[in-house]
């Protein structure tokens, strides 16, 4: 390649998505393309039923409001019927139009999806870059025997969605799309592991190179005794808090003040038993929390199976009402993340997420629900194809990091106490003179103690480590998170030092990667430890860049 042939420096991809050169070893003679090559295909006609229902669903709230609004009017009558009918007609028409317009086809190299009524769009995915295929069926889809297929590539973070293919076709597509990729990788061709001059990983190289002709193996299956961990996951608390908020809104809207009996009852309750009421609310919240979390757990994780397929790809199927089947190419599973929220830690539980490339935005795939820690580490090690990363002792970041973390956590204390001290002690304006003089001191002490506890927990959880193939970083105060990243997936390093970190000779070491959240950060690590870690993780990448 000579210089005049270069693309202009405009930001066009320098590594073209479809390299026409000898890099691509010709079209792979894979299995026959479902539906034939080059033919534009429509979604299943059964989608004509799904679209109106779904659109009606999205119209439901405004429609209901309209009905109520119109229905409450004095002239009442057939108005709301008209509104409803108009809504239904619009929904059906839009559904038909959408079905009519959306088409997809397979060429030899690409999957193409054509959508859009006014602005027509064609989305493409190069077939040799398909990294993940998700098959999802909502209850409505399942009644009609349909599925939604999401295809993720390593090229783009958005995924192509084929909604409304039949379930058999979806399975066929999944095998077709991923078998193609694995054959491509098995061929001695443009395997990206062989093309990194600067950063050959220590030990066995990228897993994608090795053949994996094995029988399908099950890594994990839902065990309903894990259900006891459901209430300890924090996410359900958020749900319950939201529900309580909504209920209290509704409670405000109830016309209680119009009913004198209720008002009297309320007054009596307030007068007699505020404590009882509070206890009841607390019990209601706790019961609601347990119920919601358990139901969510069952709905989400019903029939969970984590399977390593014959070619090494990872497949996760789950779901009671909406079923999910996620398949990720083996080489693109770049690591794992074990999360231990505070409550879950108390009962020795943990959650497991896979970190991968080309699985859509976020780059993570939930693998295990809150489950016993032992199970999580075992399955995690199967996932990483290496034992130790999730159980190993980590290296802490030392006393300087501890001082730094404590100081940083106390900034908030100082600011809050200061903000309170100014009006309390310096001004007499408004109602500020009524603030007690000991207020700022009390805030300083209480908040300071709380922050000290949090900071120390953050420091104790902090640590890093390195196995033969993986970089391990653990962080977090309330939610302890251990991130494990394959060193072959590290595509660069960033050493960040704030002004204060420079004074203590600490830094934030960031390993950049294409997988998952696209970075793994070891915060407040001593600079020499950071450099040592980076050198051992990616031999060669830091050579002659050292002082």
């Amino acid at each position: 390649m000579t210089v005049p042939d270069l693309p202009p420096p405009t930001g066009a991809p320098v590594v073209p998505a479809a390299d026409p050169g000898p890099a691509v070893p010709g079209p792979v003679a894979g299995p026959p393309v479902p539906g034939g090559t080059g033919q534009w295909q429509r979604q299943s006609p059964r989608m004509l039923l799904v679209h109106p229902v779904r659109i009606l669903g999205s119209f439901a709230v405004p429609l209901l409001l309209a009905m109520f609004g119109v229905g409450r009017g004095d002239d009442g009558g057939p108005w709301w019927l008209l509104v409803a009918a108009a809504g239904a007609v619009i929904a059906v028409l839009a559904g038909v139009a959408s079905w009519f317009i959306t088409r997809f086809r397979f060429t030899d190299e690409q999957l193409q999806l054509r959508t859009g009524l006014l602005s027509r769009r064609i989305l493409t995915a190069p077939l040799d870059r398909v990294r993940s295929v998700d098959v999802e069926s909502s209850p409505l889809h399942r009644v009609l025997g349909l599925a939604k297929v999401k295809v993720g590539t390593g090229v783009d973070s958005t995924r192509i969605e084929l909604d409304g293919v039949s379930r058999e076709q979806a399975t066929e597509l999944r095998t077709f799309l991923l078998r193609r990729t694995s054959e491509e990788n098995a061929a001695p061709g443009p395997d990206d592991a062989t093309l990194r001059p600067g950063d050959q990983p220590a030990g066995p190289a990228d897993a994608s190179g090795t053949p994996y002709p094995q029988a399908e193996a099950e890594l994990a299956r839902i065990d309903w005794s894990w259900l006891r961990y459901a209430p300890f996951s924090l996410s359900s608390l958020v749900v319950v808090a939201g529900a309580v908020g909504v209920l209290s809104q509704v409670g405000d809207d109830l016309p209680v003040d119009q009913v004198e009996v209720a008002q009297d009852a309320w007054a009596w309750v307030v007068a007699q038993a505020v404590l009882v009421l509070l206890a009841m609310v607390a019990v209601a919240v706790v019961v609601g929390w347990v119920v919601v979390s358990t139901v969510t757990y069952v709905l989400t994780w019903w029939n969970l199976r984590v399977v390593r397929e014959g070619q090494g790809n990872l497949r996760i199927t789950r779901g009671l009402l909406t079923t999910h089947s996620q398949t990720v190419e083996r080489a693109k599973v770049r690591g794992a993340r074990m999360g231990e929220p505070f409550l879950l830690r108390l009962v020795r539980g943990a959650e497991l997420t896979a970190i991968a490339t080309g699985v859509g935005s976020g780059g993570t795939v939930k693998v295990l629900p809150p489950a016993p820690r032992q199970v999580v580490t075992d399955v995690g090690h199967e996932l990483l194809e290496e034992t130790g990363a999730l159980t190993m002792e980590l290296t802490g970041h030392g006393p300087r990091a501890r001082r730094r973390i404590h100081l940083r956590h106390q900034w908030g204390t100082l600011v809050v106490a200061g903000l309170l001290a100014v009006p309390t002690w310096l001004t007499d304006a408004w109602w500020f003179d009524r603030l007690p003089g000991w207020g700022p001191v009390a805030v300083l002490v209480v908040l300071g103690a709380l922050n000290a506890v949090v900071a120390d927990s953050a420091w104790r959880n902090l640590g890093h480590g390195l196995t033969e193939r993986h970089l391990v970083v653990q962080t977090g105060a309330f939610v302890r998170t251990r991130e494990v990243l394959e060193v072959a997936g590290v595509i660069g390093w960033v050493v960040q030092q704030s002004f204060f970190q420079r004074r203590r000779d600490l830094c934030d070491l960031v390993a950049t990667t294409a997988a998952g959240p696209e970075q793994v950060t070891a915060p407040d690590i001593p600079v020499d430890a950071a450099v040592r870690l980076a050198r051992r993780a990616t031999p060669g990448m830091l050579d002659d860049l050292l002082a």
């Binding site: 802490g396 970041h397 300087r400 660069g492 960040q496 970075q519």
Partner: protein, 181 residues
Amino acid sequence: MSAAPTSATEPQAAGMPHGRLREPAHRVSPRAVRYWTVNSLIGGVVTWAVLFAVAWFLPEGRWWSTALVWLFVVVMAVNVVEVVLEPAIRFRRTRWEVTGARVFVQTGWLSRDQRIAPLSRVQTVDTHRGAVMRLYGLANITVTTASAAGPITIPCLDSDLADRVTADLARITGQARGDAT
């Protein structure tokens, strides 16, 4: 099981004599100092104007308007520091290097950011010239990788040099295959 905080500050192991990254070799164009000064000046003048205008209309004698005025004074002082001190310090601390098929860049004036990316993992190479930058004949080069956390900007290079570096980088990265993930 918590990470046992064994010490990470033990004396360095033998055979690992290097405990930190060195600075990259090249400085940016000396004209960058003037560009940064002008840039901060524009921002500073706008801020001063806005703050003066607000302060003009603040009511007299209220405790909170006095507090606000003091806050404004602090902001303005910071602006002055940004115009007078920052560009020179930033010039001394901003360095870049392309060596051994890697891009290595250091930025920041109070903080410090050192970024390293092997060219085999580079996806795009952009040059950018803002309006004021063009007056001074400067250009930024931004090198992106497959990670959103990994873009590397070499700021304020001499325009001609930037073109040459971009062409070189594009040539080298164009030879790498695979999807650079």
